[in-house]
């Protein structure tokens, strides 16, 4: 069975793929491709965030005993990412290359440091803490 760490890390890499493809398409001003890749990214990212917020984090918070732990920092960063998705979507609608690339550069770095913290600290911690990690993985939505 896939571990929490593996399952969630694969989702991160999947989001990276569509994100990079959308950025490259905007740079080439290929707007049809950019919209296709960006909507794939936005959809996948939202599924991934919901997997964490509705399945993984509640299970961990229940096992850990409180809701103000490390998951609260991750939830706040999720909110920031959602704000950035909205701003980047607007830049895409405006077909503003400079604005889009400035936002996507920031988004990429923010997302990567968030992912690094999850992959190196939070996911291994949930894997260790949750006795039923297989059931948690099967409850989550695939991308």
């Amino acid at each position: 069975m896939t571990s929490i760490v593996e399952y969630m890390t694969v989702q991160h890499r999947c989001c990276d793929d569509s994100f990079a493809a959308a950025e490259a398409a905007v740079s080439d001003q290929n707007w049809t491709e950019a919209e296709k890749q960006w909507s794939a990214f936005s959809r996948d990212l939202e599924i991934h965030l919901e997997n964490e917020e509705q399945t993984l984090f509640p299970a961990f918070e229940e096992a850990d005993g409180h809701t103000g732990g490390p998951t609260s920092v991750m939830r706040m960063e999720h909110q920031q990412m959602r704000e950035l998705v909205e701003a980047t979507t607007n830049a895409l609608k405006e077909k503003n290359v400079e604005k889009y690339l400035g936002l996507s550069e920031t988004f990429m770095v923010l997302m990567q440091q968030h992912n690094m913290k999850e992959e190196q600290i939070l996911y291994p911690m949930t894997q260790q803490t949750l006795p039923n990690s297989d059931a948690i993985v099967s409850d989550m939505t695939d991308l």
Partner: protein
């Protein structure tokens, strides 16, 4: 498990790394001026002005950047803050400035008092820095490949300092040991291949996949190359012939393999946009591989320059300016706006509407600034390389290279200064709220 790394409260205040980053270019400017006004120093690596130039670049520029970066990087990749970083950093920075200036002036004026001052100040800097960083590195739980590299780099820095202090003591009134050219070579080898290369390796394993969405460096590669490099370096420094010679023949093969593999990883990155940090990484690895090839040719007895001394200088410039400083210039273009954004983000973590008004990374440090940095540094490297093959035109070419170098370091300062102003303008006026859970 340690959850400190999840919290943004764990990272030091931005003024701490930025203080080091804003100090460093001034030493690059001073080194450029020395070369500009006395291009004849290119004649010998033992010329006092050349020794001053090299230490202005290695201690004043490179060590400033590396110390500032270590203070920032450890809490992020190791979840361990450097102890007492806010209290220590002004002292470390001040003593590094004073110690480097004293050492450079000591070489130029040959005054014992300046060497004594340099000895005290630089020993103070590195002992304090290494104690604090060493403590943080030891405390990292479950160290990854980067931390493994950084631990070995810190050890090499300690040895570099020991060899440097021993050599410096020969300029002073202590009569315990004689000056040794071999000791200088070991000091340079430990400093460049031990401290600088291992630190760059440790950082590259983490940031190349992260910033450029490139494939991860495989574990066998990270551990294997690092371990082999350290073993060969230790053999080259501490064993006698034939083991030392064998180690020093194999060492450039390992280093060159790291350079080639990193170019391959960068080539396979998913983000293919024009990015001057990527270009700097590529330029630096090409320089690294070229320096390794040159060294191997030299070991095989193939002389590409008439004078052995010039060959050593060419290698030093290729590795120091071509590899180490190129990496730093590239990383600053990415890390500075990233840190600024991280700190601005921290200031409005509870206010998403304020967050969205923050300037993005390209607005904090524009791509056009990075582009000119890359061009000026490339021109510096090209003219320096040409100067070694310029015959009668060597001095004029060194003069031109020094002028480009002066422009490059001045541009770096201007870029960082302007970015810092943009950051300060965008900081919220109110004190940032603390996250709900102070344990984080």
């Amino acid at each position: 498990m340690n959850t400190a790394g999840l919290s943004l409260d764990n990272i030091p205040e931005f003024r701490i790394p930025m203080g080091f980053f804003l100090t460093a270019p001034w030493f690059g400017i001073l080194a450029s001026l020395l070369l500009l006004f006395s291009p004849e120093v290119i004649n010998s690596r033992w010329h006092p002005a050349m020794l001053a130039t090299v230490h202005l670049l290695t201690l004043g520029f490179a060590a400033s950047i590396m110390i500032g970066a270590m203070m920032q990087v450890l809490p992020v990749i190791g979840s361990q803050p450097v102890p007492a970083v806010a209290r220590l950093s002004p002292w470390i920075r001040g003593a590094l400035v004073g110690g480097t200036a004293s050492l450079a002036l000591g070489f130029l004026l040959m005054q014992n008092i300046l060497f004594y001052l340099a000895l005290v100040l630089l020993c103070g800097v590195f002992l304090t820095f290494l104690s604090a960083v060493g403590l943080a590195l030891v405390k990292v739980q479950k160290p990854g490949d980067s931390i493994y590299c950084l631990r070995l780099a810190a050890l090499c820095l300690l040895l570099t300092v020991v060899f440097g202090v021993l050599q410096l003591s020969t300029y002073l009134d202590f009569q315990w040991l004689a000056y040794s050219f071999e000791r200088t070579d070991k000091h340079a080898l430990l400093g460049l291949v031990g401290w600088c290369l291992l630190l760059v390796m440790g950082v590259s394993f983490q940031v190349i996949p992260m910033f450029h969405v490139a494939p991860a460096f495989p574990k066998w590669f990270c551990r294997g190359v690092t371990t082999l490099l350290v073993l060969l370096l230790a053999m080259g420094v501490f064993l006698s012939d034939p083991f030392a010679t064998i180690a020093l023949v194999l060492l450039p093969l390992v280093v060159g393999f790291y350079g080639c593999y990193s170019l391959y990883i960068l080539h396979n990155r998913k983000r293919k946009l024009t990015d001057y940090t990527v270009r700097c990484w590529q330029l630096s690895f090409v320089n690294l591989v070229a320096a390794c090839l040159l060294y191997i040719l030299g070991q095989l007895g193939i002389e590409i320059l008439d004078r052995r001394d010039q060959f050593h200088l060419l290698l030093g410039f290729g590795f120091g300016l071509g590899f180490v400083i190129t990496v730093m210039l590239g990383m600053l273009q990415k890390i500075v706006p990233f840190l600024m954004f991280l700190h601005l983000q921290r200031a409005c973590i509870h206010d998403p509407s304020a967050f969205i008004k923050l300037p993005n990374m390209r607005e904090l440090l524009p791509v056009s600034d990075s582009k000119w940095q890359f061009r000026l540094h490339s021109a510096t490297l090209l003219t320096f390389y040409l100067s070694f093959f310029g015959g009668n035109l060597q001095y004029p070419l060194v003069f031109v290279a020094a002028a480009f170098m002066l422009a490059s370091f001045s541009w770096l300062f201007a870029t960082l200064y302007r970015a810092n102003n943009r950051y300060t303008r965008n900081l919220p006026r109110q004190k940032p709220q603390q996250p709900a859970d102070s344990a984080l």
